[in-house]
């Protein structure tokens, strides 16, 4: 590997508030997990609302779900699973000190995240075109079934919130890629790649739940 540092040289710079580098690594990981747990609870409330609507209004929720773009949702799930693999690749290569490969994996992850957003945008456009946005001041295709509005509102809030997380994730990833392309990054801040990787895998995890809860279970 021509553009690599040895695995022994991969390290982090000890901040003054920590006793050892191991402690610093563990605290970073624990801090990210503490935040991810609060994010999990945020999304869980939305999943719970969707399930309650399914129990309360089964026929209307099934009707609304049949209008969702099942195959775009499935394709997007596959795209995010691929991005998880490339993110894992970036983490592994950062541990090995293979900088060029790591940067390639990070850029591939950002590209896959962007592809997800493009497909999601196309899905929203199709929904708009088919008058499936009940919150807009325009005709609504399922106006004769008022309960479908509730489910579609949950659908847009959940997928929109996930999209915001993905936009944030891609933005941070691009900045991190730029930082990681500088010399000595892996000798001083390798754990940033691992901590960020947790966030990316979490975005994937949430979508793995969103897809069945909104698109599959209600069909």
């Amino acid at each position: 590997m021509p553009d690599a540092v040895t695995a022994e040289a991969v390290d982090i710079e000890l901040a003054e508030q920590f006793v050892t580098k191991e402690q610093q690594r563990d605290v970073g990981t624990l801090g990210m997990w503490a935040w991810l747990v609060t994010e999990l609870l945020l999304f869980a409330g939305l999943f719970l609302c969707a399930l309650i609507l399914r129990i309360q209004f089964p026929a209307d929720v099934t009707l609304a779900t049949t209008h969702l773009k099942f195959w775009i949702g499935a394709t997007n799930t596959a795209v995010l699973i691929c991005s998880s693999l490339t993110m894992s690749g970036a983490i592994v290569l950062s541990r090995l000190g293979w900088r060029r490969g790591m940067l390639g994996c990070m850029l591939a992850t950002a590209c896959l995240g962007t592809l997800f957003l493009v497909l999601k945008g196309y899905e929203y456009y199709q929904d708009y075109d088919e008058n499936m946005m009940p919150f807009l001041a325009r005709p609504y295709a399922l106006g004769a079934h008022p309960s479908t509005r509730l489910f579609l509102d949950i659908y847009y809030v959940t997928t929109g919130l996930h999209g915001v997380h993905l936009i944030t994730g891609v933005s941070i990833l691009l900045v991190l890629t730029w930082q990681a392309s500088r010399p000595r990054f892996l000798q001083m801040h390798q754990n940033r790649i691992e901590i960020y990787g947790l966030y990316w895998h979490f975005i994937d995890l949430i979508w793995i739940i969103v897809f069945p809860v909104l698109y599959v279970l209600n069909r």
């Binding site: 624990l30 997990w33 894992s88 690749g89």
Partner: protein
């Protein structure tokens, strides 16, 4: 890249690649079930597949299995709170 480099890379990437294959296979199962609806209680099978996918991401991709005990406790607690949230709320709706 030398043969030794390739061997090193595969040794470290084996778990992520295997979890990727498992996740894609589980997704395929759920997509087929969702598209064909082969039996009445298909949602039970779909839910089981989702739980398997979530566990795969948590334990392999997010490496919870190899984290220090405190991190494992944090991640487990998050899902424990979800059990309380879902359990208590659904008991109300399902028993009305």
């Amino acid at each position: 890249m030398t043969r030794e480099d390739r061997a090193t890379l595969w040794r470290h990437m084996r778990a992520p690649v295997l979890s990727f294959v498992a996740l894609m296979a589980l997704l395929a199962v759920n997509v087929v079930l969702g598209a064909t609806l082969p039996f009445r209680a298909v949602w039970v099978a779909e839910a089981v597949v989702v739980v398997c996918m979530v566990l795969t991401v948590l334990l392999v991709s997010m490496e919870v299995w190899s984290e220090p005990p405190l991190v494992r406790v944090f991640s487990a607690l998050g899902f424990f709170w979800l059990l309380i949230l879902f359990g208590m709320t659904l008991v109300d709706y399902l028993t009305r």
